[in-house]
Symmetry: C2
Subunit: 162 residues, 2 copies
């Protein structure tokens, strides 16, 4: 129960931390330089745009994005402030609400995807063959336990987690 990790396991840990940090920073940097907001905004807009009628309960969003409740609440504040989403009251449960993406929100999501996908290609795609990327996915899935849920790609997307 208290076995020490092997050199390989420790190495994997270090690299997982370092590489993620580097790649994330690089991608965020690219987005920022293109004048876009943080990735978290993209993720939220994507989830909203994928939802049946372009709206979700904050709780749903929270579950999709794996971020704490208060974080979701404040992210929504910002999206609403920028006119990317609107709050709608929820008639069936007056505690709650619906968050609906606006046209401006959909538009931003699409424009961000152009820069975002280019960044992914630049920092991941160009460095790994598809076969190796798939191997990497498989190995990571063994650690993640459950990030493999859905997350299929249809028109243009990508998600993060933070």
């Amino acid at each position: 129960m208290k076995r020490k990790p092997s050199t390989e396991a420790t190495g994997a840990w270090i690299r997982l931390m370092r590489v993620q940090s580097r790649v994330l920073a690089a991608v965020e940097q690219d987005l920022k330089k293109a004048g876009f907001p943080p990735l978290a905004w993209y993720d939220a807009l994507l989830e909203l745009s994928r939802a049946p009628s372009g709206e979700l309960r904050p709780v749903e969003l929270e579950r999709q994005m794996l971020i704490p409740q208060y974080s979701t609440s404040r992210l929504i504040d910002r999206l609403v402030d920028e006119g990317l989403a609107v709050r709608r009251e929820c008639k069936i449960d007056k505690r709650g609400q619906f968050i609906e993406i606006t046209e401006a929100g959909r538009d931003l999501q699409k424009r961000m995807w152009a820069a975002y996908s280019a960044a992914i290609e630049k920092h991941i795609g160009s460095k790994l063959s598809d076969v190796d990327a798939a191997k990497l996915c498989a190995l990571l899935d063994r650690l993640g336990c459950s990030c493999s849920q859905a997350q299929q790609l249809s028109a243009g997307e990508g998600a993060s987690a933070r």
Copy 2:
């Protein structure tokens, strides 16, 4: 130059973000529950303890840990406040200083490694064979470009990046 990433590359991106986030949170959580400070403290203490005479320039620390300058500065503040390190003036360059780890610092580093290594084993080692962990390392190295520098393990360690 503007090619879209493959499904595999996008999948790898998503998993890299999600899995890292989960695993990091889990490990930090374990450390926290054991009553220890954040991982960044460990990393700094480790770097200091490894240094020839237990002291480093803030700039060195910054380079080792891959964190911004102001962040290093404040991390040092905290270590000093807690008596884990002391600032020493640098006679050869009066702009600078040396940060020296104290006995309390060395002690904390060692105690943290016990919990830290157990967490690595729990969240990585136990989920991946050594062979697979090595494969994961190799794939991640292709993305990271340069985290493979040194980082050998001698007595007990591990590093992160944030």
